[in-house]
């Protein structure tokens, strides 16, 4: 009897610890906080509950910059997380020659063709897919209804080109000052490099050109100078304030700005509760409509095969039609799947505010430039160059030439 009891006890014990023994521990880091971070964490918790064989250790790793630092340090010391939600950048696994995700996306239940092609571009490194796009956004042109009403501007036929928008912004600047403020402007943009790259692509410039393994900046040609010259016109003719882009959003919400280019991620917030009435129009263009992608992606950093597979399962779950679309609608990111747009949540959103359809439609024209090692540096150089152009310390051509030379020096090492 005793032996039987012992055997039974051992069996029970074994059964009890089995799932624990077989449990895979996955570390998940995410670079979003506040409500977005909470929404992401909720999804992770749901996955944990539904999958007892996986234990998730989720943590907020700081903003994009801090997360990049943490991940780099962790990679060097072999304490890296399994999955990270972070900004697109050279920390892609592709940089390390790890294209694991590229091999997995052909899984039938992942349905890679359901994701917009422009959005896939955003998850590539060196031309190959090595991440799954997740919290995606595009720049959107917002406007303040009250300001435009006061200026007598009707947007029944929205401006198609930048020059047309320029004229409207000028009129708004002259006649639309609803608050009587001394700091009132017609146009501004929150992320300079982002809009500039968008404009470059619209004008037929690819920003970066790749010939075989040689990467070189392409943003110093005539088309680019055209764009920069237009940008300079905005500040020269006092339609846009010089060097105040960090305050643009605050100014807009205070009602002291007519048109603002900002991330689509604001739509959810502003359609629900801003103190001013905000609406949007399609992004104007130079030669062809196009918007540059931004936002964050999911990457898999696990080193052993078992964790990699488990991580991929998690990523598939997160990127499913229902989950990703729900996440997007709650946080203000965009749906990455065409099928997501057909879901009731998305349709309801479109019904609630016209801004959503503007953002969704732009997904068809979304584009991403070639991702490479020094892409972060490029953004920094572009932003600085535009600053000097705005302040008239260099001509557009000279500024862009110098920027290209600087970037080339960085690329060549």
């Amino acid at each position: 009897m005793k032996r039987l009891a012992l055997f039974a006890a051992l069996l029970v014990l074994f059964a009890a610890i089995s799932p624990v023994a077989a449990q895979t521990k996955l570390k998940v880091w995410y670079a979003i906080s506040g409500d977005s971070g909470a929404a992401f964490k909720t999804m992770l918790d749901k996955y944990s509950a539904a999958n007892p064989d996986v234990a998730l250790e989720a943590s907020y790793s700081g903003n994009y910059g801090d997360t990049a630092t943490k991940v780099s340090a962790a990679l060097v010391s072999n304490t890296a997380p399994d999955v990270a939600l972070m900004a697109a950048g050279p920390l892609y696994t592709g940089e390390r020659g790890d294209y694991f995700i590229e091999t997995k996306i052909n899984d039938p239940d992942f349905d890679k063709n359901d994701i917009f092609p422009g959005v896939w571009d955003y998850a590539k490194f060196d031309g190959r897919i090595c991440a799954v796009p997740y919290g995606i956004s595009t720049p959107v042109l917002y406007y303040n209804k009250a300001v435009l009403d006061k200026a007598g501007i009707s947007l029944k036929n929205p401006p198609k080109t930048w020059n047309e928008l320029f004229q409207l912004a000028k009129t708004a600047q002259a006649k639309g000052n609803v608050n009587g403020s001394s700091d009132f402007w017609g146009f501004d943009v929150t992320d300079v490099a982002w809009l500039f790259k968008t404009m470059l692509n619209q004008n037929g410039n690819s920003v970066i050109s790749v010939k075989g393994s040689k990467i070189s900046p392409a943003f110093a040609d005539d088309k680019a100078v055209e764009v920069a010259t237009f940008w300079k016109k905005l500040t020269d003719e006092k339609v846009m304030a010089v060097g105040q882009h960090a305050n643009a959003e605050k100014k807009f919400l205070a009602g002291n700005l007519a048109f603002l280019v900002a991330t689509s991620a604001r739509i959810v917030k502003w359609s629900q509760d801003a103190t001013i009435k905000v609406d949007a129009i399609p992004m104007p263009y130079f030669q062809k409509p196009s918007v540059a992608m931004g936002g964050n992606v999911l990457i898999i950093l696990s080193s052993n095969a078992k964790n990699k597979e488990a991580a991929w399962k998690l990523v598939k779950y997160l990127a499913s039609k229902e989950n990703q679309t729900a996440f997007a609608m709650k946080t203000g990111y965009l749906p990455i799947r065409k099928s997501g747009l057909a879901l009731p949540i998305a349709k309801d959103a479109v019904a609630s505010s016209g801004m959503f359809s503007i953002a969704f439609d732009q997904l068809d024209n979304s584009w991403s430039y070639w991702h490479f090692d020094q892409m972060g540096t490029m953004d920094q150089i572009l932003a600085q160059t535009i600053d000097t152009i705005e302040r008239n310390t260099v001509t557009p051509k000279a500024g862009l030439d110098k920027a290209a030379a600087d970037l080339q020096a960085e690329i060549d090492g």
Binding site: S72, V242, D373, T377
Partner: protein, 312 residues
């Protein structure tokens, strides 16, 4: 057994120590007393610096896996980089202004707080309060203060009929704006130091001087100031080192190095190279150059302040 004025009774030990053994006792005691300090210095300073030195000779990148020795290439790059020299110039400008403001203002306020004014405790805590505010909060507040359109500073200026300033958004005023913020934030530290220094001057000396007929002014300049020399020297030296190393407050106020990179300081440059551009090797080289700069400055400071004061 007599007690001293603090009521300390030295305990008597029955062993005898001869003069010749004193030196050895001191050495032994010194070794014991210094060991913990040396340990921390070894792990937290020596090891990392060795690592940094090695790193500066490679093309270590944060983003890929290349690890080759490149000799002095990184040093040459940094020394030839216009941005590096710009950051150096900005840092020296920042340091000069901040040290002068910090020291003089703190000393002045400490002298005032040393006197028996009403509400002294309230004043003290008011000057100390900015030190405890987390930088996330204080930077937000000051960013709003400096807003050219809706910030209170410009509101005050325009009400007084003065022209509004661009503060953080103009290359001429950006660094100064940060200096003002930084002084506001850090003044409390120096006030406490000077206060402690003033408070530890024995009343007997001041009494003696006053009895001898010295005016308050003479008492201040001829007795208090010289006795404050160690504290002043400390404040300036620490100020120098901290200014040359400043990073966080500049980074939160002007995340992109300000208009025309006017708030790009030395540590910002290092952070930029190491983390934004991922070039750890170059960042390491720049760090070593910074080390040399700080070293040079402290030598300079030591050469300038040669006075030592005894109680005689």
């Amino acid at each position: 057994m007599e007690t001293d004025s603090n009521g300390i009774v030295p305990r008597v030990r029955r062993t005898r120590r001869k003069g010749g053994l004193q030196a050895r006792d001191q050495k032994r005691a010194a070794a014991v007393m210094l060991t913990p300090l040396v340990l921390t210095l070894f792990f937290l300073f020596v090891l990392p610096v060795v690592f940094v030195v090695v790193m500066s000779l490679t093309n270590w990148s944060l983003t890929n896996t290349t690890r080759d020795f490149v000799g002095f290439k990184n040093f040459l790059f940094v020394l030839k980089d216009g941005r590096f020299w710009k950051s150096m110039g900005n840092t020296i400008y920042f340091t000069a202004f901040k040290i002068v403001l910090d020291t003089l203002l703190a000393l002045f306020i400490a002298v005032l707080l040393d006197q028996k004014v009403p509400f002294r405790r309230l004043f003290r805590i008011a000057h100390f309060a900015p030190v405890v505010v987390p930088i996330t909060a204080s930077s937000l507040i000051w960013l709003w203060f400096y807003d050219p359109g809706i910030g209170p500073f410009n509101q005050i200026l325009t009400t007084l009929g003065l022209p509004a300033l661009q503060w953080l958004y103009n290359e001429k005023t950006s660094l100064l704006s940060i200096i003002v913020f930084s002084v506001w934030k850090g003044l409390g530290y120096n006030v406490i130091l000077f206060l402690a220094g003033l408070q530890s001057i024995p009343e007997s000396y001041l009494e003696a001087a006053r009895i001898d007929g010295a005016s308050e002014r003479q008492v201040f300049f001829k007795i208090k100031m010289p006795l404050l020399t160690p504290v002043t020297s400390f404040v300036i030296m620490m100020g120098l080192i901290n200014c040359l190393k400043v990073f966080t407050e500049v980074d939160v106020m002007t995340p992109n190095h300000g208009p025309l990179e006017s708030t790009l300081l030395l540590v910002s440059y290092i952070y930029d190279q190491s983390f934004t551009r991922g070039k750890m090797g170059r960042g390491a080289a720049a760090s070593l150059l910074l080390f040399v700069v700080v070293f040079a400055f402290t030598l300079l400071q030591r050469a300038v302040s040669r006075k030592s004061v005894s109680y005689e």
